[in-house]
């Protein structure tokens, strides 16, 4: 049977790639330290597959076709399309694990979830920045779980948690011997293309971290359902973290680093969950 060997979360600001060479040594060192913590643990686990959760940044989907959730089920996906990403992470094609992806999709439909499916996605910076900075180049096969975190309406917090439990079940019930890690990409606070662009909401980030640390789902649901509509639009990416959290059984959260980085406009968060 497949084994869930690790669960992680990491931020993914595009400016990390676009401006890397222009940062001060201090900024580069801070970001390197953060991503290295995730990367060292993730690489040490030697996953055969990573299920990665991220939003699509208007690459695969548009207003004429905008799924709430999409699973990549094909044998491979396209690497990042952004020129600034191709310079640093030159993987034009990224393998998928179609077997596990299809199993997740089958289980989802059997459990009354209705994800969209894609047989060939393009994995933008949201997927590839954490992989790049974590030293997964090339990466192991990636099962992409795209969650709309960019254009309302979006999944409820409760539904994200349900997806996390479903994901855990899918991994546990997959018959092949496989080491599977989960990587949630996105968050914490940031604001893009809004009057608050550039603002990092440290109070929100700290409260979010405290709630993940406490673990209980209902306080998270209560807080985030009320708070997310009031913070910068990038804060919606914390939905990826909800899925990871529930996949861990809503316990065992460990903050690896929190680093507000004004140079990339993001309150960068890096975390791990126990899989015991």
């Amino acid at each position: 049977m497949a084994e869930l060997v690790g669960i992680f979360a990491a931020s993914h600001a595009p400016l990390v790639a676009r401006e890397w060479d222009n940062f001060t040594p201090e900024v580069r060192a801070g970001l390197t330290r953060c991503y290295d913590k995730v990367g060292a643990r993730l690489r040490a686990l030697k996953p055969d597959v990573i299920v990665e959760i991220a939003t699509d940044h208007w690459v695969n989907f548009f207003l004429n076709n905008l799924p709430a959730v999409c699973i990549g089920v094909g044998p491979e996906n396209e690497g990042p399309p952004e020129p600034f990403m191709r310079k640093v992470y030159n993987n034009p094609v990224i393998a998928n694990h179609a077997g596990l992806a299809k199993h997740l999709a089958d289980l989802a439909f059997a459990a009354d979830f209705e994800p969209a499916l894609s047989h060939r996605l393009t994995l933008d910076h949201g997927f590839c920045i954490p992989l790049w900075r974590a030293g997964l180049d090339p990466p192991p096969p990636i099962v992409p779980l795209l969650v709309n975190e960019i254009e309302p309406p979006m999944l409820s917090v409760k539904r994200c948690l349900a997806w996390g439990r479903l994901l855990r079940r899918a991994i546990a019930s997959y018959p092949e011997k496989l080491r599977v890690a989960i990587l949630a990409s996105g968050g914490l606070s940031h604001s893009i293309g809004e009057p608050t662009m550039g603002a990092i909401e440290i109070e929100f980030d700290k409260e979010s971290i405290a709630l993940f640390d406490k673990g209980a789902e209902q306080p998270m649901i209560d807080y985030f359902e009320a708070k997310l509509p009031t913070v910068g639009n990038g804060g919606h990416e914390v939905r990826s973290w909800f899925i990871a959290h529930a996949a861990a059984g809503s316990r065992g959260f460990e903050l690896l680093e929190y680093l507000p980085v004004p140079e990339v406009y993001v309150g960068c968060g890096f975390a791990s969950w126990s899989v015991q």
């Binding site: 208007w58 690459v59 207003l63 293309g193 662009m197 550039g198 639009n233």
Partner: protein
């Protein structure tokens, strides 16, 4: 304000470097393929954020200003000057 599909589509499509090149060389020709209101066409000519921002997803707006060569500091200054209720305008 309701989402402007065609303005959003233009901003989405302009992620393609080839279309951006064509847009720079023949803006009117490219714009003629989108069902845009005259006020929106004028706003695109002057990067009038007061007209554009309420009509599109904020990420698409960010892409558009980036591709148009507007510096982040200028873009952010324009955003900060938007009326508080600009989304409902």
């Amino acid at each position: 304000m309701a989402t402007d599909f065609w303005l959003s589509k233009l901003m989405y499509d302009l992620q393609d470097p080839k279309l951006r090149e064509e847009y720079r060389a023949d803006r009117a020709g490219v714009l003629s393929r989108y069902k845009l209101e005259p006020a929106v066409v004028r706003a695109l000519e002057t990067h009038d954020i007061n007209v554009l921002a309420p009509r599109v997803n904020a990420y698409l707006l960010r892409f558009y200003y980036q591709y148009s060569g507007v510096k982040d500091a200028d873009f952010m200054s324009g955003l900060r000057a938007l009326p508080k209720d600009y989304l409902n305008g």
